[in-house]
């Protein structure tokens, strides 16, 4: 008998030989996927489960249902935190986008020394938020801080953030903008530089200039980038942590969800509340990401 049924081992060998590339791919992927499930997928599910618990990390976890969420949306102190998170996110986002856009527009005018201006605007985004926030407390210190000295030289009384809520909030916004506007600037600049010169020239021949050029040529062509700057900027602005933690520590009407999550989880032993807030942030920012994908899809469909 020359032909005989293949043994199990031979069948496996044959399969492996035929699908060698796929087998290799899965050999590479399997350990990576195991790690991915343990450290990227499972924590999200675990966070969701903890958000339904009354748990301080030490006691026996008790089922709390939606009580943590209810508390977050009805308790005045948590409502205030939600309100301030949205306020800071929107304020930082608007200033970053508008300022970043105009700087990029100015830099796109074939200025001499582009690299120097770009460096000055971008380098703050590379600094350590923690170290610079700790330094910011020196700038705003009463009497000896720079803000006080400058205001005093103008004959104005220097505000004290501990008692002046508006000043405290302004500091957080200014600091965050200083540390993140460079990214918006760089993105808009990349977008502007990718506009084909012949489009600009053609519009110029048709008599477009200044405001009309901006309104009818530049802005429409920049729309995908603008959507991207807005959505990624929103995601980042929602997650401002270091300045609030280190400059005001959430006092004087500046508390935000990032800090409240940190406090509830690691200072107050309210794991359930912290997890519920993290879930709320997840939902909001997922919504923003999907909006991004949809709007990006729309603009590229329009352009085709």
């Amino acid at each position: 008998m020359d032909t005989y049924p293949l043994t199990r081992r031979e069948r496996i060998a044959q399969y492996l030989a035929r699908n060698r590339r796929a087998v290799e791919a899965w050999l590479i992927l399997t350990p990576i996927l195991i790690y991915y499930f343990v450290f990227a997928v499972f924590p999200v599910l675990a966070n969701l489960s903890v958000s339904f618990l009354d748990w301080n990390g030490f006691n026996e976890p008790a089922w709390a249902g939606l009580a943590n969420y209810e508390r977050f949306f009805t308790n005045p102190r948590y409502q205030q935190v939600l309100l301030m998170t949205v306020f800071f996110a929107v304020a930082i986002l608007i200033v970053n986008t508008v300022l970043g856009f105009f700087i990029a527009l100015a830099l796109n005018e074939q200025v001499k020394g582009l690299g120097i201006y770009r460096t000055l605007w971008y380098v703050p985004t590379l600094t350590s938020a923690a170290v610079m926030a700790q330094i910011a407390t020196v700038f705003i210190a009463p009497r000896v801080g720079v803000t006080s000295v400058v205001l005093a030289s103008l004959g104005l009384e220097s505000p004290i953030w501990q008692t002046n809520i508006d000043f405290a909030r302004l500091i957080i916004v200014v600091f965050s903008v200083w540390r993140s506007v460079g990214t918006a600037m760089l993105l808009f600049l990349a977008g502007l530089q990718s506009i084909p010169l012949d489009v600009i020239d053609a519009a110029r021949v048709d008599g477009a200039a200044g405001w009309r050029m901006l309104r009818h040529i530049t802005l429409p062509l920049l729309r995908p980038m603008t959507v991207f700057v807005l959505v990624t900027g929103l995601i980042a602005a929602f997650q401002v942590f270091e300045p609030v933690y280190l400059i005001t520590n959430g006092k004087s009407g500046t508390n935000v969800m990032m800090l409240k999550i940190y406090d509830d989880a690691f200072q107050n032993g309210r794991f359930g509340m912290a997890a519920a807030m993290a879930t709320v942030m997840l939902v909001v920012l997922l919504w923003a990401s999907f909006l991004n994908l949809r709007l990006m899809g729309q603009t590229s469909a329009e352009q085709q």
């Binding site: 590339r21 796929a22 290799e24 791919a25 992927l29 990576i32 996927l33 790690y35 450290f39 990227a40 997928v41 924590p43 675990a46 966070n47 903890v50 990390g57 100015a106 005018e109 200025v111 201006y117 460096t119 000055l120 605007w121 380098v123 703050p124 590379l126 600094t127 350590s128 923690a130 170290v131 610079m132 926030a133 700790q134 330094i135 020196v138 000896v144 000295v149 400058v150 030289s153 200083w178 990214t183 993105l187 990349a190 977008g191 991207f228 990624t232 929602f238 270091e242 280190l246 990032m258 999550i261 989880a265 690691f266 794991f271 912290a274 997890a275 993290a278 942030m281 920012l285 990401s289």
Partner: protein, 296 residues
């Protein structure tokens, strides 16, 4: 013509004044770190040293704990450069070149994590690290000890997969012709040899972006070391160590005058390496950020 020149002049005035405002905090910190304490208290809107004091810099650079923070950070940065680079180079290959069932589904699954904000991971990861069975005095059920918390494990285990870099590598692989790989196959090279010898040299721009952005991220990482290892000074990274040092200096009034120049010297010295890195590799930073936007 005149109008045009006026426009240019206004443009430069606008750019120079706003750019100086952006640079002001860093220039201030740089100058204040070189100012004597007496001079600093005399200064108003900008520190004007009557003579350059390098002693604050020298004192900080001579500290043992600074060397420790820098060594810790460079060690951790090396780890968070090498492992994500290996993972994303391998995944980029797997998601581009071989065809197999489920490939695109797995890719989409991994991309999905890009949309999850980092804060969602902090508490569950903390609990996982603290309750890891059989480490740090924990029993088989993860009870009784501190697990990985306040150990190197907590600073090296989480967050090694970054979907953005997998995405970036996949983009790069797609721009490389398959001919090179086929030629190497004919010569008898296996898949790992092909990735290393054929693709990695061509992926250098993307890898450079990964290296610099990971390095900056680890150099500045504050929340993770604070939460996962804040209780162990021996493994503190630069951002946490420097922030704590600046804070304790600001609270120290025993000498009569708070030593502000030292605080600024510290801030300058921990910022300087990143600024130098940027000046050397500016092109890649711009490409990296633009890549986030144009491809994202």
């Amino acid at each position: 013509m005149l109008r045009r020149r006026l426009g240019r002049t206004l443009l430069y005035i606008f750019l120079i004044s706003t750019s100086l405002m952006m640079a002001y905090p860093l220039l201030f910190a740089f100058a204040a770190g070189l100012t004597g304490t007496e001079d600093y208290y005399q200064s108003t809107w900008f520190p004007a040293p009557t003579e350059i004091h390098l002693d604050k810099w020298a004192a900080f650079l001579g500290r043992d704990d600074l060397r420790l923070w820098v060594a810790n950070t460079i060690f951790r940065a090396g780890w968070y450069v090498v492992i994500p680079a290996v993972i994303s180079v391998l995944c980029g290959y797997v998601f581009t070149v071989p065809r197999f069932k489920g490939r695109d589904a797995v890719f989409m699954l991994m991309l999905a994590s890009m949309m999850v904000p980092g804060i969602v991971y902090v508490l569950p990861t903390f609990i996982m690290l603290a309750r890891w069975p059989l480490v740090g005095g924990n029993d088989i059920y993860g009870q009784g000890g501190h697990g990985f918390i306040n150990t190197w494990g907590a600073l090296l285990i989480p967050g090694l997969i970054n979907a953005f870099y997998i995405f970036l590598m996949r983009q790069s692989y797609q721009s490389i012709p398959r001919d090179y790989e086929e030629a190497a196959r004919v010569d008898g090279a296996n898949t790992l040899q092909i990735i290393w010898n054929v693709y990695v040299p061509l992926l250098r721009p993307a890898l450079t972006v990964l290296v610099i952005f990971q390095f900056v991220a680890v150099w500045n990482d504050y929340l993770n070391p604070l939460v996962f290892a804040g209780g162990n000074e021996a493994i503190a990274p630069v951002a946490l160590g420097a922030q704590r040092f600046i804070f304790s200096t600001s609270q120290n009034t025993r000498a009569g005058l708070i030593d502000y120049p030292t605080m600024f010297a510290v801030a300058t010295l921990v910022t300087l390496p990143i600024v130098i890195l940027f000046l050397l590799l500016q092109r890649y930073f711009v490409q990296g950020v633009a890549g986030f936007g144009l491809k994202g």
